[in-house]
């Protein structure tokens, strides 16, 4: 097992390097001026050259990449051109808010997804199955931003029950789980949860159905095992795949949903990415993409290792 984990970690290194290279190049090959956030269009050539030198954009691209990577490895992702604040602090603050939103959305999405999936699987091809499947398909299909706006119109504008935007009465600051802060979380979390809920429902439904149709279940029942015992076996068989699906969905949510966070002005990584793109804040854009990509890679690694721990057949594959 240790060899498997070590091998998986080694595989991660080239992936991370590739990610770093791609996100560095992506923002450099796009047209436009990297200093547009601070350089007015009527700035003199002298001023433009002066600023390019100050930010290091006058150096050859490989040198810029080397310096950027060296600093990144040492925890320095540079300074935001637009705000002058350290990129790492900006990204970590935003990621912290996104993690909070993702956890809430995961709890909602996975709870309802598991519930609907198990019910649909147990009552396959009945109206209950069709209802649960219908909800799952709607969850996957509905546009995030549209659902978010509908929820805001109903629960904020019309009923005035929940806040429409923001992360807390005095800003997010730090994680707080009291009602005054939680009420800001409810609508974005529900909006974010619908896709994982739909996907988990469909996955768990299929797994439950397949497991229940296998011979060993009939054998367990023939031996007199109660349905709760059978249920335990079903969950055990479905767990590794469901876990992988959950991990991937959590990864997507940690990546931040630009649309949901923009609709709700939720100060997470999605909104940060949106700002970085519109302000063309290259260091911030690079730093945000890199951190989010690393999150995704590490999450996948964790899921792979967890799967191998649960089902030893996986590490042999």
């Amino acid at each position: 097992m240790l060899a498997y984990i070590a091998r998986r970690i080694v595989y991660v290194v080239p992936i991370v390097l590739s990610v770093a290279l791609v996100c560095f190049l992506l923002v450099h090959i796009t047209p436009g001026d990297p200093l547009v956030a601070v350089l007015p269009a009527d700035a003199s050539q002298e001023l433009a050259a002066q600023l390019r030198a100050a930010y290091g954009f006058d150096r050859p691209l490989p040198v810029q990449f080397g310096l950027w990577l060296w600093k990144a490895v040492h925890g320095d992702l540079g300074t935001s051109i637009a705000t002058g604040r350290p990129v790492l602090a900006e990204v970590m603050r935003a990621v912290s808010n996104t993690v909070m939103l993702a956890i809430a959305a995961a709890i909602i999405g996975f709870s309802f997804g598991l519930l609907f999936g198990l019910i649909a699987g147990y009552f396959r091809d009945t109206w209950i199955d069709k209802l649960a499947t219908g909800i799952a398909i709607a969850g996957v299909s509905v546009p995030h931003y549209w659902l978010g706006m509908v929820l805001v119109i109903v629960f904020s504008v019309q009923l005035n029950w929940l806040p429409a935007v923001g992360a807390g009465p005095g800003g997010s600051g730090q994680w707080a789980w009291d009602w005054e802060h939680l009420r800001y979380l409810i609508l974005p979390a529900i909006t974010t949860s619908v896709i994982p809920m739909g996907i988990v429902t469909r996955t768990v439904r299929a797994l439950t159905g397949d497991t229940l149709s296998q011979d060993f279940v009939e054998a367990l029942r023939a031996k007199g095992l109660r349905e709760t015992g059978v249920f335990g076996h079903v969950i055990k068989n479905a767990a590794p795949t469901a876990l992988a699906v959950m991990g991937l969905q959590l990864g997507y949510m940690l990546g931040g949903s630009i649309l949901v966070e923009t609709v709700f002005s939720w100060p997470g990584s999605g909104l940060l990415l949106n700002s970085a793109i519109f302000q063309r804040d290259l260091p911030l854009l690079q730093g945000t993409i890199l951190v989010l990509a690393l999150f995704f890679v590490l999450l996948n690694l964790s899921v792979d290792i967890a799967q191998a721990l649960i089902d030893p057949r996986i590490k042999r594959a």
């Binding site: 047209p31 436009g32 001026d33 200093l35 547009v36 956030a37 601070v38 350089l39 007015p40 269009a41 009527d42 700035a43 003199s44 050539q45 001023l47 002066q50 600023l51 100050a54 930010y55 300074t79 051109i81 637009a82 705000t83 002058g84 604040r85 900006e90 603050r93 935003a94 706006m149 805001v152 119109i153 904020s156 504008v157 005035n160 806040p163 429409a164 935007v165 923001g166 992360a167 005095g170 800003g171 997010s172 600051g173 923009t262 609709v263 709700f264 002005s265 100060p267 909104l271 940060l272 949106n274 700002s275 519109f278 302000q279 063309r280």
Partner: protein, 553 residues
């Protein structure tokens, strides 16, 4: 039935007790708070020279800071003009028109209690112009130096007198100085002394970062709480030097909300009292719910800037004038933009001191436009194809695509065949500077970039003076009109305000007579607010004065 009644009574009691819980804080707190949803995605920089264009100046420049000169924002009907700020008077030297003497306002203190004086002015000029000064900050020069392009240095004469030097005679300097905000040198020095860093430059950067979190200016508002990207809270400065402008509310909370629908929802749900630029299609709903929309003509132009290089179809003045006569601007205002624009008949409209008396009247006159086009050799069977480069979004661009499609249809009636080249906003902004001869223009005959018209350089000179052609500045189409050049030179070297304004008016009139641009619209800076907001005056400016605003209980 009896149970139902008892349940109802319980529900009423429960509701009352819950209501009392919510009411207690509002009764206990006498503090008045004004909450504003900005269009910015982040709090504009707070260290003295804000980013994010004039929205930055509006919210974190003119609130916490003052300049030597400032805009009079007290009138909704008159054009905003420059008035004394931290300087009480100024004059160019008779024997050397590159040197200006500014007399400073006595008794002004920064929020940290230190004195505002000539040393502070020199220090603030050096922060963006003197590379050798410890406080020199590259991150602030981009948004400052280009707004005062001729200023070179500052020198203390005595505690309340300072001499500013320009590299050439420039009568626009007092107007430009509205963009230089005075930060506290004492506060910065204390932060610099505490800062850690490998060298002086690193310490300086750290000091500015610390200053941005705990700013100190002389403005009517003081920084109270700052959460990056989420909120900035300002409290009123009771000791502000202009007693008439001590704020009427205790606290102002600024919240970045870049998405128009989110801002609108925040207003309608009572989360904020005021939003900038509500979604145009929500205006009716906002008004129907009892909120008010404030708007006024802004010094802003939404134009097509013509190519004037050899071979351009716009070199024929009949074509330029025809395009200007072919647009039903009132129709665009009342239909497409739900009233949120003012039809443009030039860079400045009647009533503005720089308007002048143009001979050519820009209006909707389809027969006259068609006649001009026929005279120029075009007609229903021989259309003139023109390509315009624009963006799908962007600061100040209003609704670029729908507006350009409106123009496309309107101009088709005057025998134009308009092609749109839509590119990303930042790329368009970069291309603007590169000019029509650059490959990035992609064969366009015009470019659609909105511009601010606050001061003469930004409004007129950078587009009309031949020496402002790329790569120097924004004369994208290479306009080369000796009359424009002569008037620019005259305006810059006329040091009496009234006479300078007359020359600028002559320049504006000349540009309208020449149909230098396709003038379409001025933005109106719409903002929606609760009926509780009282005392607000929306001037004809990008900026507003928050001091007289109060909140009804």
């Amino acid at each position: 039935m009896r149970n139902f009644g008892r349940n109802n009574r319980r529900a009423v009691l429960l509701a009352l007790s819950m209501a009392s819980v919510f009411m207690v804080p509002s009764l206990a707190s006498a503090e008045s708070v004004l909450r504003i949803g900005m269009t910015a995605a982040d709090i504009p920089r707070t260290l003295g020279q804000p980013d994010q264009g004039f929205e930055g100046n509006r919210f974190t420049g003119l609130t916490m800071y003052d300049g030597l000169t400032m805009w009079d924002l007290s009138s909704a009907t008159k054009a905003s003009v420059v008035i004394p700020g931290l300087a009480t008077e100024w004059k160019v030297k008779d024997d050397d028109h590159t040197k200006w003497i500014f007399k400073l306002r006595p008794g002004v203190k920064f929020h940290d209690g230190s004195d505002f004086n000539a040393d502070a002015v020199v220090w603030n000029v050096d922060k963006v112009l003197n590379k050798d000064a410890p406080q020199y900050d590259p991150s602030q020069i981009g948004v400052t130096a280009s707004r005062m392009p001729t200023l070179v240095s500052a020198k203390k004469i005595d505690d309340l007198t300072v001499e500013l030097t320009t590299k050439e005679p420039d009568s626009f300097l007092p107007i430009n100085l509205t963009n230089l905000f005075m930060a506290s040198p004492t506060k910065w020095q204390a932060l610099y002394d505490k800062a850690e860093g490998a060298d002086a430059k690193a310490k300086s950067t750290a000091a500015w970062a610390a200053f941005a979190k705990d700013a100190s200016g002389t403005g009517p508002w003081k920084m109270a709480k700052f959460t990056p990207r989420e909120r900035l809270e300002l409290t009123k400065n009771d000791g502000y030097w202009d007693k008439k402008r001590v704020p009427h509310v205790d606290r102002m909370v600024l919240l970045p909300m870049p998405e128009a629908n989110a801002r609108t929802a925040a207003l309608l749900s009572g989360q904020v009292d005021w939003v900038e630029a509500p979604a145009p299609d929500a205006v009716k709903e906002i008004e129907a719910r009892g909120f008010k929309i404030e708007k006024n003509e802004q010094p802003h132009v939404w134009p097509w800037q013509f190519s004037r290089i050899e071979g351009s179809p716009w070199n024929d003045i009949r074509v330029r004038r025809a395009a200007n006569l072919c647009i039903d601007r009132e129709g665009m205002r009342d239909g497409l933009l739900a009233g949120l624009m003012v039809p443009a008949t030039g860079t400045f409209e009647p009533g503005h001191p720089w308007r002048g008396k143009p001979q050519f009247q820009i209006k909707y006159d389809l027969p006259a436009a068609q006649k001009l086009m026929k005279e120029a050799g075009y007609g229903p069977n021989k259309k003139l194809t023109v390509k315009v480069q624009t963006s799908a979004s962007g600061s100040g661009q209003m609704l670029p695509l729908p507006m350009n499609e409106y123009l496309q249809q309107a101009l088709a009636e005057c025998y134009f065949d308009v092609k749109l080249d839509v590119i990303e906003w930042n790329t368009l902004f970069t291309n603007w500077r590169r000019g029509v001869k650059d490959p990035s223009a992609n064969g366009s005959d015009a470019i659609n970039v909105t511009y601010a018209a606050m001061d003469p350089f930004f409004a007129l000179v950078r587009f009309l003076q031949s020496s402002m052609a790329p790569p120097v500045s924004n004369n994208w189409g290479y306009i080369n009109n000796p009359k424009f050049d002569e008037l620019v030179k005259k305006a810059r070297t006329t040091f009496t305000d009234k006479e300078r304004d007359e020359v600028l008016a002559e320049l504006n009139a000349a540009s309208i007579d020449d149909a230098a641009f396709l003038y379409v619209a001025h933005d109106v800076g719409p903002r929606a607010m609760s009926q509780k907001v009282k005392g607000f005056v929306q001037p004809k400016s990008w900026f507003v004065d928050f001091s007289p605003v109060s909140i009804a209980p």
